[in-house]
């Protein structure tokens, strides 16, 4: 019991304990164990195998690794006897912060808040708060969008009802006379939101460029300069494809580079590669040693991909449907510069350019944010309890 399971073995008691008596008792226990610990581990990193001979060897409370069978920086982040590898503890903190990035993670035994020393970057903070603002705003935007769509459906239905009851002539006199729409318009208009959403995925890439041709019709396609709206819209899917493949090529390269940096920085320390716990004790060591290599490759890959693909569904859809509005805003913003106005006189082309610039800027910002996050993860570290025990809040 005592060698493998340190005093933490009863975390159950911690849940039901707020009484002063219990706290006192706990303090006396931790004081006792500290006095044992200080003789060996006042500076956990510098502990040598000689001093730890038969007192209490360093053992990570997360992976159970010791000095003999694992590598990694030791940290003692709280006031009880638990120590762990920095990387193991960072994994645990990350898991807790998946939902709320600022969540405070506590030691499960002594309830001390783990403290991280991470560089603060103003740009990254702006990026993260903007990102979470967008995240928080999505439900409201979705609700607004649904309300609008109900309104529009009702309007259309109302027009249909008026036309049916009053007859075409009387109805058109009431409603004003819209030009009768052809089949291209009736299929094209409802397709626009669908295409906008699918343009965020790769699902219909193969026939995306054909769709504008179907809707616009051949007779409107004439090569002129500046290109007519019909031509521009037919070219946009090709531009999108070119941009996407260029982007994924670039991001792919950056990703491999970052991952290499990541491995170089943390990989050695991450895990003790050879579990040298007495191979005769159990046949499973052989398996334990053989398997991880493969799994690690796969797991690492998945983890890395999720960095570039972590937007949720609602965000994708709302973003796609807001695209016309965003392009128009960016276009009118561009219109304020006389330089742009003289080159691109009409609104339509300014809006298209604005939309494209927005997409590029957004992607770059996302890439920058991801990079900064990775960088922060690389350099952050867990603060030793000894460092901050005097600075009480």
């Amino acid at each position: 019991m005592s060698t493998l399971i340190p005093p933490l073995a009863s975390p159950m008691s911690e849940s039901s304990s707020t009484s002063a008596a219990f706290v006192k008792e706990l303090e006396s226990i931790s004081a006792r164990s500290r006095s044992v610990a200080t003789s060996t581990s006042s500076q956990p990193t510098s502990i040598s195998a000689a001093t730890a001979s038969y007192q209490e060897p360093n053992r990570c409370y997360i992976c159970f690794g010791t000095d003999e069978d694992s590598d990694g920086r030791w940290v003692k982040p709280c006031q009880c006897t638990l120590i762990s590898h920095e990387d193991c503890l960072l994994d645990w903190i990350d898991k807790n912060r998946q939902q709320f990035a600022r969540k405070q993670v506590r030691c499960s035994v002594c309830n001390t808040v783990y403290r991280l020393a991470e560089p603060s970057s103003l740009l990254l903070n702006i990026y993260t708060s903007f990102d979470s603002l967008v995240h928080a705003g999505i439900p409201y935007l979705t609700f607004l969008g649904l309300t609008c769509s109900v309104l529009i459906t009702s309007t259309t239905y109302g027009a249909y009802a008026v036309l049916t009851v009053c007859g075409t002539e009387e109805g058109e006199r009431l409603l004003g006379s819209p030009n009768p729409w052809g089949w291209r318009v009736w299929t094209g208009l409802p397709l626009i939101p669908v295409i906008l959403i699918f343009s965020r995925t790769k699902l219909i890439d193969s026939f995306m460029p054909l769709i504008p041709l179907l809707i616009v019709g051949n007779d409107q396609l004439q090569v002129t300069f500046p290109p007519s709206p019909a031509l521009t819209l037919s070219v946009m899917p090709w531009v999108r494809m070119a941009y996407n493949s260029l982007w994924s090529e670039m991001v792919g390269r950056l990703e491999t580079r970052w991952r290499n940096q990541q491995i170089a920085a943390a990989g050695v320390a991450r895990l003790g590669m050879n579990a040298s716990i007495d191979p005769d004790a159990d046949p499973s060591t052989a398996r334990g040693g053989a398997n991880p290599g493969q799994r690690e490759g796969g797991g690492g890959g998945e983890e890395e991909v999720s960095f570039f693909d972590r937007k949720d569904l609602g965000r994708t859809i709302v973003g796609a449907l807001l695209m016309p509005a965003i392009s128009s805003i960016c276009g009118s913003f561009l219109g304020h510069f006389s330089f742009v106005r003289s080159r691109i006189p009409d609104n339509f082309h300014r809006n298209i350019l604005g939309g494209c610039l927005f997409v590029v800027a957004k992607d770059l910002a996302g890439l920058f944010g991801t990079y900064q996050e990775l960088k922060r993860k690389r350099v952050r570290r867990i603060r030793e309890y000894a460092e901050f025990k005097d600075e009480r809040q």
Binding site: M1, S10, I62, L271, A275, T285, G288, G299
Partner: protein
Amino acid sequence: MSTAVHRRMLKEYMAIQKNSATRPHLELLEPVQEDDLLHWQAILLGTADSAYEGGKFHLDIVIPSSYPIQPPTIHFTTKICHPNVHFKTGEICLDILKSEWTPSWNLESVCVAISSLLTNPEPSSPLNCDAANLLRCGDMAGYNSLVKMYTALFAMPDEE
């Protein structure tokens, strides 16, 4: 990650073998197969003087490859009547197996926690509403006899 999980499971295994004498309510806690440390089984003994007395309750334990960052998945394979255990699936509603999990738990302490859940049910978050309702109404006689009946039906194979 998986090196870490295997190392940890191996050490837990060795510690469990060493302490086998010190746990009265845990008849068995071992890997299902010797060479797979990610799939375990356990047998809980019903506490004496409780309605579960004399029953042997089998647990199936699956260790995720991200253990101990993620908790193990545990369910009863023996049918058991308990407010916090699903009667059909054997799913267990216990906070430390979900939101309150921390790496300082280990398989042994989790099994002890489940064992103590048997005698300390929490009827406010039930998976078995019938059992929980009996408890909430304070019908201890009804609850105990129901539990005794199911224990005799499903958890005492030898006496049939």
